[in-house]
């Protein structure tokens, strides 16, 4: 059972701890994953990238979280209306809105997770004495080890993704085009209440085409779902039941990216949580509480590193 209030409170505590650790007076977050981690705000899902903009502001002195949103729908109940600032097309209006947030004008160290020329002009105007600091690494560190509530969200996302991938592979058996697999996969996930895919899905690791699939083709469909911001990744190959179990022996606290590569030369491992996190390569060390998306040419799974090993956050391949 996911306790959303507890989940948000825990994330806010971790955000403020990261700010204290790096001596950041203010965080100005543009990445949706970071904004969501700090605030719990759910905003409209759009595909692709958005340029950096001050979408969420956290002030360490007051502990206050401020969010760019014209309405309170999708906003957590602890976020007061005077902590919302509305979307605008006018840079001068946005400058006034951000400049009016208590704690911004006197800030000396502001952490950011991206930048544009326009955003730099804005921040220079509202906090002329501040030094801008890279907050990408501190935010990723705060997000790395997942709470039980976060894992529960990922488990839900994985279950939805499994249904989507299964629907795509079922359709493949009936002789449709690769592109139509995307439709079946998205359809199945939406029927389970999740209209926010992590991706539109790949066929054999590439962009689906208009090729009509022969009913005896061996194809791999890989996709993912996003539930309450948290992502789960699943990839399956029809009639191939190989999954994460080939790597189970090497996934444990203290193991490195090099260990994973040695055990499976075609496996890539990334952190996963509020979307994708950085890859685990070389000397990167696994820690208890991390969640990983592991992808190979024939399967993909989402796993959690436990005290002494790893567990699959989904069902084993049939």
């Amino acid at each position: 059972m996911i306790d959303h209030a507890r989940l948000r409170a825990d994330r806010r505590t971790r955000t403020l701890a990261a700010m204290a650790h790096d001596d950041l007076d203010v965080l100005v977050l543009g990445r949706e994953a970071n904004a969501r981690f700090a605030s719990g705000a759910r905003r409209l899902w759009t595909a692709g990238t958005r340029p950096f903009a001050p979408g969420c502001v956290v002030v360490r002195e007051t502990g206050a979280v401020h969010v760019l949103s014209t309405w309170d729908d999708g906003m957590p109940p602890e976020l007061d209306h005077d902590h919302l600032y509305g979307t605008t097309w006018n840079p001068a209006v946005l400058t006034d809105e951000v400049g009016a947030i208590p704690g911004i004008p006197g800030a000396t160290r502001i952490g950011v997770d991206g930048m544009t020329a326009r955003a730099h002009a804005l921040l220079s105007a509202v906090a002329p004495g501040a030094t801008l600091v890279d907050a990408t690494a501190p935010m990723l560190a705060a997000r790395r080890r997942k709470s039980a509530d976060e894992v529960a969200c990922i488990v839900h996302a994985v279950a939805v993704a499994e249904a989507g991938v299964a629907a795509a592979l079922d359709a493949a058996a009936s002789g449709v085009t690769e592109r139509e697999l995307t439709g079946r996969y998205l359809e199945a996930m939406a029927r389970l209440g999740v209209t926010t895919p992590l991706t539109e899905g790949t066929v054999d690791g590439r962009i689906p085409t208009d090729r009509r699939i022969d009913t005896d083709d061996v194809i791999t469909f890989t996709g993912g779902a996003v539930f309450e911001g948290y992502a789960g990744v699943v990839g399956r190959t029809r009639d191939v039941d190989d999954t994460w179990s080939t790597l189970a022996g090497v996934l444990h606290p203290g193991a490195t990216g090099a260990d994973i590569a040695a055990a499976h030369p075609h496996a890539t491992a990334r952190g996963i949580g509020l979307g994708l996190e950085p890859p685990i390569t070389g000397a990167d060390v696994l820690e208890q509480g991390m969640t990983l998306a592991i992808t190979t040419p024939r399967w993909a799974d989402t796993v959690r590193i436990t005290a002494d090993g790893a567990e699959l956050l989904g069902r084993p391949a049939p």
Binding site: N90, T136, V176, R206, D210, G224
Partner: protein, 404 residues
Amino acid sequence: MTPGSPSPLAGEGLDPARMRRERLDTLQRGMAGAGIDALVLLGLSNVQYAVGTHHVAGDQSHAFSPRIAAVVPASGAPHLCTPWPDGAPPELPVEHVHPALDLDTDGGAADLFRLADDVSGRDATVAFDEHTTATWFRTNGTARDAMPILGAAKLQKTGDELECIRRAQAINEAAMDDVRPLARPGTAQTELTAAFQRRVNELAAGDGARVTNAIDPIWQVVAPMIEEGPWTTTGHVAYPLSTTERVLADGDVIWVDTGITYLGYASDFGRTWVVGDPPRPTPRQVDQFHRWLDVVDRVRDVIRPGATAADLTRAARHGERTTPWLPHFYLAHGVGTDSAEMPLVGTDLGEAFDEGFVLAPGMVLVLEPVIWDDGHAGYRSEEIVAVTDDGWVPLSDHTYAPFG
């Protein structure tokens, strides 16, 4: 309301290679005029414009890492870093297609800067569209801003670009013909999304062009009174709100808004539906629809090269007691490789901005006025037009059912 002559902005077929060549020429002319030797592009819609590459669409977090990026030199073909080499345009030399970079790391940023140096030389003047922290702190904030060049290049579309928007819209609209009958009492919003996603990909299959979804489809039930809906900073209607598993009820007024892309160009579908089996709009709702249509007709009547954005807002407001669009949005916006881009008409950029913005051939306008009767909800739909040499042509063509 007689549309302008369609030629030369429509009906010439679609040549994607020509489209890409002309866009690159436009960008490189803009770079020469601004004294910029190379563009480094990280924004997906900007890479799409400069290179014309395909990708697997996804959540913002997925699109970031490892991400698509491009380097555009002063002359010659662009360079593309991508996890999807199968999506590179066929005419792009293979030595211009590079592996994707993790631009959230110093190593990835260093690789991108090395590529820019290789392409344009170490002393080149480089402009970025946006930055990760790794690229920003590596430039020490000294890089130029690429957005003015991109904005100017994108503003007036070629016939090929308009055809992409028209095809995106045609697929989106055709899918809606199959979704609209499902908006019955007892259907969940998410079931409409399921049907839409499946149908879009069925319709796209066989076309040969890449089609992706651009936004979580919206089927918002609009409360009759503003105060019954979510609180807003503007005091007006909260829209658009994310889709949930809310079950539709007889008589619900829903504002639909969806968007897909065709070769990177966005559609923008907006309609008001009434839930019912069959749907039965009230006389008051039908009246709202006709008032909305009047606003659209008045605005289209003044669309031509030389008209200002303020001419459009004046035409929309003529005879109305209240401003007939949402205060946090606009009367109209452009569409292209971004779902909302210039021209922006009637925004909080203000009247002086609208007075100074002059329409020209090839600009695209998505008209989205709103008629609101507080206590009785309202009517909102969208129509897309392209400015021609002497008027406009429609890029959207869809029924207003159940309003006639």
